[in-house]
Symmetry: C2
Amino acid sequence: MEASAAVESSATVSAFEVSKRPDTAKLVLNSPSPPSLREELATVVGKAFRPRASGGAGGGRAPRCVWVLPALQCVFPVLQWGRSYTLKSFKSDVMAGLTLASLGIPQSIGYANLAKLDPQYGLYTSVVPPLIYAVMGTSREIAIGPVAVVSLLLSSMIQNIVDPAADPATYRSLVFTVTFLAGVFQVSFGLFRLGFLVDFLSHAAIVGFMAGAAIVIGLQQLKGLLGLSHFTNSTDIVSVIKAVCSALHDPWHPGNFFIGCSFLIFILTTRFIGRRYKKLFWLSAIAPLISVILSTTAVYATRADKHGVKIIQKVHAGVNPSSVKQIHLNGPHTAECAKIAIICAVIALTEAIAVGRSFASIRGYKLDGNKEMLAMGFSNVAGSLSSCYVATGSFSRTAVNFSAGARSTMSNIIMSITVFITLELFMKFLYYTPMAVLASIILSALPGLIDIKEACNIWKIDKMDFLTCLGAFVGVLFGSVEIGLAVAIAISFAKIIIQSLRPQVEILGRLQGTNIFCSIRQYPVACRTPTVLTIRIDTSFMCFINASFIKERIIQWVREEVEASDGKGKERIQAVVLDMSSVVNIDTSGLTALEEIHKELVSLGIQMAIAGPGWNAVQKMKVSRVVDRVGEDWIFLTVGEAVEACLSAHKGTALEC
Amino acid sequence: MEASAAVESSATVSAFEVSKRPDTAKLVLNSPSPPSLREELATVVGKAFRPRASGGAGGGRAPRCVWVLPALQCVFPVLQWGRSYTLKSFKSDVMAGLTLASLGIPQSIGYANLAKLDPQYGLYTSVVPPLIYAVMGTSREIAIGPVAVVSLLLSSMIQNIVDPAADPATYRSLVFTVTFLAGVFQVSFGLFRLGFLVDFLSHAAIVGFMAGAAIVIGLQQLKGLLGLSHFTNSTDIVSVIKAVCSALHDPWHPGNFFIGCSFLIFILTTRFIGRRYKKLFWLSAIAPLISVILSTTAVYATRADKHGVKIIQKVHAGVNPSSVKQIHLNGPHTAECAKIAIICAVIALTEAIAVGRSFASIRGYKLDGNKEMLAMGFSNVAGSLSSCYVATGSFSRTAVNFSAGARSTMSNIIMSITVFITLELFMKFLYYTPMAVLASIILSALPGLIDIKEACNIWKIDKMDFLTCLGAFVGVLFGSVEIGLAVAIAISFAKIIIQSLRPQVEILGRLQGTNIFCSIRQYPVACRTPTVLTIRIDTSFMCFINASFIKERIIQWVREEVEASDGKGKERIQAVVLDMSSVVNIDTSGLTALEEIHKELVSLGIQMAIAGPGWNAVQKMKVSRVVDRVGEDWIFLTVGEAVEACLSAHKGTALEC
């Protein structure tokens, strides 16, 4: 009876509403229909092939490369900055380039060793990719070349297919194939605007992953540092420690350890000084090179290699040989290679873009993620054809490049030329370089990868994120690199699903003397309107996964209200207002849930009103005739209007009774 | 300069704000901290072991079963309704039970045939589970027993492990093992409140799945209908049609086809009549039984089995034998069994709960999903020990039970007793029953599973949902049952990820003469405030997957605004208001994005204000010091307040300049 009364009075009420607020309430249903799925797709695809992702509002404003020069400038930013390039900036770029090379050469050799390749391959990788990036990249500071994490990724994953010690030739050809594929993937990411794939690795995941990788890399260096001959191939901490323990039983030569530690201390000290006195930063930059020179000379002079000090030995002079013939795309392992390639591609991009963005924001300009991917991709494709392995932006070298005052990617060109000369002239010299020094150089680069402060910060802010971080860390440390990544991604997505699985449903109250309604849990001062229960559904997508949860929750609250009022004899609730302003989209299950809520309320003789549903939601409610069931007069723009309407409707019934 | 001006003036502004709105703006930051992850978990776990899921608000109001009788009543609802059970309702239950049995017996035999088991196993399954459910279930109309889809699931999946024709004994033991495990899964779902697992199959997915399954089942019946001896085991449409074509080349006996078709027509006609004249519904209910009796007598009289009419033959009198010894939990196939069991458990529950809810809502009472799961689970566990296979609520029989006027689960007891008697006395009779009649009975039950109207409806409302539906349908039809389910679930979850991957970001405008701000795309009448850009972030979880998208979008709009104003020389925007009222939660990536937006805006000399962020969001913004960066005075409760503050701040600067 009450229900019917409420319903029949709704007409009068809406009339009263209309007289009071001509438009707003009606607006909700008269809004234009939102873009259909087809149109949405069209825009997405359209965007994918426009040079700049452009916002729905000013869609047309992105510059299109329709003429040749702009088109070329789009692909080769060098044509843009090249014009206004001055001698002054060239000078500082030369300085930066040389500093960069002095750090890059020893690091490249070390990372090649980490990637289980001969030293020259590291240097090759510091020649070609920087040149390509220099003409295509949009970042001015980033320094391209081999990096620790990617080197570890490559070796740890490829050695599962073939043992580098047993069959170096095949191993190398697999490395080049992976590099080629990684480059192709990166290019396609750039072309098809798949930049968001990089977002799949959340910040927290990267922090955990990097820390784990750093520790794993550090453990790998024990081989060189202790001058061990036999060592495990697996990267997890357990088997590495086992290997070390067993190796220590064999006779080993403290000479290696001595050299490694002393130079490690030397490098760390210089870095400390560099940090302390910004003027002396170049000290930390050239320290690795100095250590290489000193140690090599020392070993050569004392012939320490005769007394068990491990030296590089395998060196090969001359510039990058072609490796086209070593890329096998129809070989037996292509599938595994593709898998490894995509992991390397994403990790490399993540690191490069993270590095690039951080320095771009310091200099106050903006990186175009998609152009970066193109540049990286082409660098790696070109690299793979010239005996390079996967290159990306190195954090340590980029920092040096930045503080050395690089003005443009020219510094990369300078560095690559320097490395080129080294390859031509000074390779012989590296014969006597002790492995221990390489280990110490790598070790000295690791602390930058472990960001404990950030981890604590994440713990403080978001426990779930910390779980992701921890998952990646533990996974890398005790499982393998892939396991770490898999765990991190799994947790990240579980987070999203859980979030939409159990959305918040809040009871709203009015703030005294205002027309503002907000959650009574969040704002205890807000007080509930008598006889009207206002509930906000806090999910942007009311769908199969949370619809029945929301329904149950709402119906239960209503029942409790009714029981309570019937029990205590206080005034019974007359209406329920659903604030759907957060609900952007809704699917059939969600609509069914709404209908069931409405049916339930009607059966209890309670009026249901809906406030400010999102664009798509309104549209679907119209199509699915939920609007007709609820009644057009009971759909409002704001909670305030809805509540007032319900109250006056109640007054209406009260008078009638 | 502007920025600094804006900032310094912010003090004065906020003062002015305070004088004007003492509380609201401050409220946002002074709200109590939301429940921590630990507390959240605690509540979830707490709920899990409370008899009724209870809403956060009136948490304590759920009745706890702390004393014996209530506890028993909790587990055995029969103790509740049993007391008030009258003779009158008993009478109508007897009628309903008998009607139910007359439909149930032939169906059970047919479904047993579909499950590739001897006929008596179908009847067994109509004896024990209904009894258990009768004392534990909360639905009054539902009719428990074997159903078509689950029978198909079982046979199609288990025959991949062992061929029922070659080794019926092993096949049977696997069936019982699966049934046992399915029961155990269902019980644990009920105990641990995992009811939401049933929601993972969206409504759309079920529609598509059921339709596909129905067609597959129908195709399977061609074997019986055409009296074929050799038939394929695979369920996909292609191989079935191949099998039929090849079989038609062999000599086949039209007798089967004749019998099948004539009785199919008979059953469908009676159903049509039953639909037309509600009084005669019992006609459609007993039609299958009549067909069985008629056809059997006919075959027996004419000895048609001598002339190629296929008959059941294998029948075995007597009640359920124990099957405890046939359940092997440590056998070689336990893993596959568990996989099959969980699929069957979920499908069975989905169907039962769907059926139960639909009729409960007609009668206007509420089902307790978790109790239903317990009841179903125990029915199947008990069944698996007494030679039954997976039972659940059948839609066709429940409908009959309902229209026959069942008042309580007593009708299930009556039916089970009737079947029991049949097993004891009339099994011999079934020897001559032609297979074709069973086929026609099954076929007659299928149209109820195909809901074209609903599919069209889904297409009209939500294209993505329709895609799910289609995926399930095509998957079942051309792949297999598992493939269909996998596809449906994959699409459903992809939908959620996509939704949070590309959230809507809307520019807001003010409705003339109100303080209401809404999307200018949705409400074109809303007009933007000059010099203030108001943007709403329409996602409930601003996280790693969408943070950078949102950031890019906002920064781009701002840049376009600035360019436009600088170009046309119209007034430059002074402030950006982010409406975060939809953002319930945020993770570290989201917070970083906010910081970067703020940094960007400051560099452009634009003031940033945040309006009404969600509870968790505010908390995390406080912890991560985003609040300090943005400035406490620039965080507001509503967009209106934020915009006013920005405008007056701008006035302030304007005056100062």
